[in-house]
């Protein structure tokens, strides 16, 4: 059998050019299929890892997915705010262990600014119950202090003591800058692989401070109040975007959720992050499945390419088969020679595809995190991916059965008579 594989290898080497093209096409299709699968699972992981610890997420009345996306993932915008009074009232509910307020709407060079309280750094957790860690510095304490996510600091090259100016709105280029009230970087968080890395954290009071004298999203003419004047005002927040709730016991989750959803003072929505994520997956699942189906078809096309290469070579190889028969090869040998070629081509294609995939992942990793906040782990294959690889290999063997069977028939019929 080793001899036959060696023969198959030499025969493939003799047809380098077409064989290489076939291997490349199979490799590309394999890389595509595994890539789609990898992005799918990794993005799910990334999303799932983003929030842990909070039992409920509360925002102005909206769809659960939208609320989850803007509050936790910083994707999209809030439709409305929550009044400070409602926030405080709900925080005082029985069963509530802690709350973290979130106030969004400003940015710095494309990175979102989030107003919150100091307890955020104690309670917020990601991945499997991991707490935020400071790479350097301390939480914000003063009105004009900011804590940077690891990527913000790394990408913009900021260190402690750096003075930054926040912009109004969440776009990359903002027309209105809060340049009269610069912030000082006092802390930088360790990397988390979540949107936290792309966030600039300030206190709720800071958010109020930079918008003082503003009306309807623009500064009022002639109403500029200097940074120091603001400091003396002892500001209290008037509204926030959303907040996270941790309950004493998860048993109370539904009770509190209902209470918030039926809250009289203001239309609010409370969601269970896990449930909302599931709904998100269901929504995305359709597109994911379509992508997987397309990728699978591309693999099939790649294998058909190999089938075509093998089939077209058969006729010219009948002579070769007759010679092999004459030196004692059985039809089964001839059959396994072709199958061997199919296996070698498919396996090389898969190997090439895997190398390509990891190469692309290595290149895409920094791009995905900076553009989409999507952290991709470059890990070994999951069992599902190994299954996919196995299926592709088997499909390659099955594709080889067709020319294999044909050459087997030829070989039986031709015997040692050379047909051309």
């Amino acid at each position: 059998m080793r001899n036959i594989l060696l023969l198959a290898l030499k025969s493939l080497r003799n047809r380098k050019f077409t064989v290489c093209l076939t291997i490349i096409s199979i490799g590309l299709s394999v890389a595509l299929l595994l890539g789609v699968e990898r992005i799918r699972t990794e993005s799910r992981n990334s999303f799932t890892n983003t929030i842990s610890g909070a039992d409920l997420v509360v925002g102005a009345r909206s769809g659960p997915i939208q609320l989850l996306l803007y509050s936790v993932f910083r994707i999209g915008y809030a439709t409305n705010n929550i009044s400070w009074e409602s926030y405080q009232e709900i925080s005082a509910f029985q069963d509530v262990s802690w709350v973290i307020p979130i106030s969004l709407g400003d940015s710095h060079r494309g990175y979102r600014v989030m107003g919150t309280e100091r307890n955020y750094f104690n309670h917020f957790s990601y991945s499997s119950e991991q707490k935020l860690q400071f790479a350097t510095g301390v939480p914000f304490n003063d009105l004009y202090e900011a804590v940077l996510g690891s990527e913000v600091a790394r990408k913009l090259g900021y260190g402690l003591g750096k003075s930054i100016v926040l912009s109004h709105g969440a776009g990359e280029i903002s027309l209105i800058e809060h340049d009269d009230k610069p912030f000082t970087v006092v802390g930088i968080l360790s990397p988390t692989g979540t949107p936290v890395d792309q966030t600039i954290h300030v206190s709720l009071e800071s958010i109020e401070a930079i918008h003082i004298g503003w009306q309807g999203g623009v500064p009022q003419a002639g109403a500029r109040i200097s940074a120091d004047q603001v400091r003396r005002l002892k500001l209290k927040p008037t509204s926030i975007t959303a907040f996270l709730i941790k309950l004493d016991s998860p048993i109370a989750t539904f009770k509190v959720q209902r209470a918030i959803n039926e809250y009289r003072e203001e239309p609010l929505t409370a969601i269970l992050p896990g449930v909302a994520l599931q709904q998100l997956w269901q929504l995305i699942g359709i597109a994911e499945n379509a992508l997987m189906a397309v990728s699978a078809f591309v693999v099939v096309v790649g294998l058909f390419g190999m089938l075509t290469t093998l089939m077209t070579s058969l006729n010219e190889r009948r002579r070769e088969m007759a010679i092999l028969r004459s030196v004692g090869a059985r039809p089964a040998h001839v059959f396994s020679l072709i199958i061997g070629e199919a296996v070698l081509v498919t396996a090389s294609g898969i190997a090439f595809g895997i190398i390509l995939l990891y190469g692309l992942l290595l290149m895409a990793q920094p791009l995905l995190i900076s553009h989409f906040g999507l952290h991709i782990n470059i890990s070994f294959f999951s069992s599902y991916e190994l299954l996919l690889i196995g299926i592709i290999l088997i499909a390659g063997v099955v594709a080889g059965l067709v020319p294999g069977w044909k050459i087997y028939r030829y070989s039986l019929n031709d015997g040692m008579t050379i047909k051309t």
């Binding site: 004459s326 004692g328 015997g415």
Partner: protein
């Protein structure tokens, strides 16, 4: 011409050595399908060990069919095929393939070589399919290679530059000699050559044949040479006209060549 007669005398001498016939066909009848009339009907045909037999027949006379039967590719509907004392009717297809690998060296009319293998790899190919031929050449990859080179040298193919060439770039004559080396490696008892000289010019035909005779004599192989070219017949110890032994009525047409 002197050489020829000398050769002939040694051949006829060796023809008497064998005790059991190398080929023994009895009551043979073969047709390609049940409805078709038989293409081959041979009452009795024997070849003895060490013989250099020339089988003469134009195309369509059933030559290729006869060779396919002798090599165990085809089984006759009737009659017995005994090669080296082994009855083929008792062997399965794979067993006949193995028997062929072990005992028969085969040379085609032309294009004998696997294009993607080197000269030496082509020569040692039978050793890949037959452990007994491998054993007879020493069982070691180095000794097999050594034997291949020895045979090639005997067949005047010792030039290293020639050996490293892709086989498709060799001349037809050189290719046929490589094929002869392949047929001879591992000392098969029977060497069958199916018109191996028809692609060669007259000059090379005789020298090729001489080399082939020489090597068959040395390894004690029986040679069956099939051709329609009668000019070579005089070199052989025995000449048979196929149509003389083939009684099939439909033999003159429709057969494979």
């Amino acid at each position: 011409m002197q050489d020829q007669t000398a050769l002939k005398s040694t051949n006829s001498l060796s023809s008497n050595i064998g005790t059991e016939p190398v080929i023994d066909l009895t009551g043979l009848c073969f047709s390609y399908s049940e409805k078709a009339s038989p293409i081959l009907e041979i009452d009795r045909f024997q070849v003895h060990s060490g013989e250099m037999l020339f089988i003469m027949g134009p195309s369509g006379s059933g030559k290729s069919t006869l060779l396919s039967i002798i090599t165990g590719i085809l089984l006759p509907q009737q009659g017995e095929v005994k090669i080296l004392g082994q009855s083929f009717s008792q062997l399965s297809g794979p067993a006949r393939d193995r028997f062929r690998a072990d005992n028969i060296g085969y040379i085609f009319q032309m294009f004998n070589l696997i294009p993607y293998l080197s000269v030496v790899e082509n020569v040692i190919l039978p050793c890949q399919f037959s452990s007994s031929r491998k054993k007879r050449t020493g069982n070691h990859s180095s000794s097999i290679r050594h034997e291949a080179l020895r045979l090639l040298t005997h067949l005047n193919l010792q030039d290293p530059g020639l050996l490293s060439q892709p086989v498709v770039e060799l001349s037809v004559g050189q290719q046929q000699r490589v094929a002869a080396a392949r047929a001879l490696i591992g000392h098969p008892k029977l060497v069958i050559a199916d018109e191996p000289t028809s692609s060669l010019d007259t000059e090379h035909r005789e020298s090729f044949l001489r080399l082939l005779f020489d090597e068959c004599l040395k390894s004690g192989a029986t040679l069956i040479f099939v051709s329609h070219d009668t000019t070579l017949a005089s070199l052989f110890s025995r000449v048979i006209e196929l149509k003389k032994i083939n009684m099939a009525p439909g033999a003159s047409g429709g057969g494979k060549t």
